[in-house]
Symmetry: none
Subunit: 188 residues, 4 copies
DNA sequence: AATGAATGAGACTTCATTCAT
DNA sequence: TATGAATGAAGTCTCATTCAT
């Protein structure tokens, strides 16, 4: 990862908090990064190319963090740690998370095809963790692990953003407990 | 509500299923509504004015539907009906729901100040229903009704869109049961 | 002159101080006059029709006032009174005077053909007064009365506006004396 | 001054001879200059930005020419040369001069704040020349140099345009003599 | 590896005018 | 006599992209 690409990512992330991806201009991104406009095209070929790379980079970061709890001995504790880590990531990269929420379910949005496999990657991490919980019999009858994983991912995203935007005085621990309370519906 | 404004809303809603807000052109909206482009500006002043009015209109529609279950004798059944109605609305107005998800947590986005009170309205309907559940002792200790209401609204939105976009073969009843399963964590 | 037409004239005059005729919108004029837009078209047929009528009305007013000094026994005193009256008119109807200055020499401006004969009318009044001065031998050799009349009209307009806009603390008497000082170059 | 800006100025100046500022379109200006429409916006930000810069450019050109006579040994001859140069400039850049006359006394017009200091600059050049005339005792008692300078500038503008528009058969020498005849009222 | 002036398709917006009431 | 919703031609402006340096 060159310094220039890194700076362009950071500039895009910073600006994306306030506007949609479509509203972001290459001019603004370049100015924020302190490089010339042509540099974006030199490094990424197009605006879409930059966004594409950014989405992969950001989701990769998230996946990496979520995977850190894969080897927690207690599956339920692992799930709780995963939720906590997810909340922390979203709070730290709020602009990126807003992008995800904006673009994830937009179809046939410009970046939908990029996001589809990235979503798969993250959902599958959540799914693995849920499967471990199921394996020790802590999931009620009738819960489909894959369905629950998808739902948990979306809920995590949305609850975390709601916390940041509309309930900023709540603590992360408090929000985490709310989600876990929901989860107890699954994990008894 | 004049016929012309109504028609423009419906045209925008229809087109919004396929594209994002930024991708919609006033030309297309006017053509779809069967009026001249100037008519949009006569009625709403600007494209943003149209979107603003549309958000109020659409959320009003959703709120109206959700309120229909307020007098259900059994609070838990009322909550379940509310969830089902919410899913149906989102499936019917997918484009609009995508807009909601895109803009709701964008701050200081262009429509954030419009959406803030609209969100309050919907969340408060959910909250009232949850409160009735709490009043009959069907909510566990430690669940804050207002927090749970906000979370449930976001989750509903996101789970419904995920269903439409990534799991289109699932039935609505199936999705409803998934959400209710989650809810049982709250409503025992 | 009906009340409605009068009100539309006054509204146009008021708004024309700040903007050019081309920048004035029929919407704004109607709103300022407190009538509906269609009323402008009912009364004047078009925007150009309104402006046309306004120009004729305003120049008619000016001509009427300037003519009041035609029978002053002393030609030089009559000329001085004419200058004074002209200054007073321009100060009173500044917006209209700004229109005159803006459009008079714009060619092939939209209202040029309307203004040409109106200018003739005013210049000829000035010319008559100058001719009476010439008849008593108070004009130097070589001064062409018609040329001097045209020049005096323009100068009057411009000096008066300059007074109003850039030197508002000067008194009208002071400005009149300045112009008369110039005139003494002609009228010895 | 880049070549592109220069060409846009010249194109605008050329087109301004035939129409007013409001009638000029960016499309036409770009076409006349042989550049793409976007180039106007790249260089000046907006149509108003172009006009603003053009006013500064044009008045700078006028000021430069008027200053050329500052070192004429004979003050009265210098004043006459200044008048002659002014007439020549206005005849050459008629469209620009029409703009000046249209906007100079419009308050609070869009370009009034731009024109105010530009007018100061030109008036002060005239004033310096008049002062030199006064210093050699060729101005009558009671003539305020600064007032006379402002008046002379306006008169020059208006008489020159009147010549171009309504008396095109007169020669420049003839018009110059008319103005000088007026001036003799001041310069005896 | 980077630049930034230039481009032009395509968007948003204005506004004089019409016409059914 | 007056209204005002609707129109659409014509304008202003944006912005992803290119390319010579």
């Amino acid at each position: 990862m060159t310094t220039t690409k890194q700076r362009l990512f950071e500039a895009t992330l910073k600006l994306a908090s306030d506007r949609g991806l479509a509203e972001l201009t290459v001019d603004d991104i370049a100015a924020e990064a302190g490089v010339a406009k042509g540099t974006v095209y030199y490094n990424f070929g197009s605006k879409d190319g930059l966004i594409d790379a950014l989405l992969r980079y950001g989701v990769g970061l998230l996946a990496e963090r979520l995977r850190e709890h894969a080897d927690e001995p207690d599956p339920v504790a692992g799930l709780e740690a995963l939720v906590d880590t997810g909340l922390a990531f979203i709070a730290e990269y709020r602009g990126f998370s807003q992008i995800l929420v904006s673009e994830m379910w937009r179809t046939p949005g410009r970046w939908h095809e990029t996001l589809r496999p990235l979503r798969e990657e993250v959902v599958s991490i959540v799914k693995d963790q849920l499967q471990r919980v199921a394996d020790v019999g802590r999931l009620p009858e009738g819960v489909q692990v894959s369905t629950a994983a998808a739902g948990l991912f979306g809920t995590l995203l949305v609850v975390a953003l709601d916390w940041q935007v509309f309930q900023p005085t709540r603590t992360r621990a408090d929000v985490r407990d709310s989600v876990l309370l929901l989860l107890r519906g699954l994990a008894r």
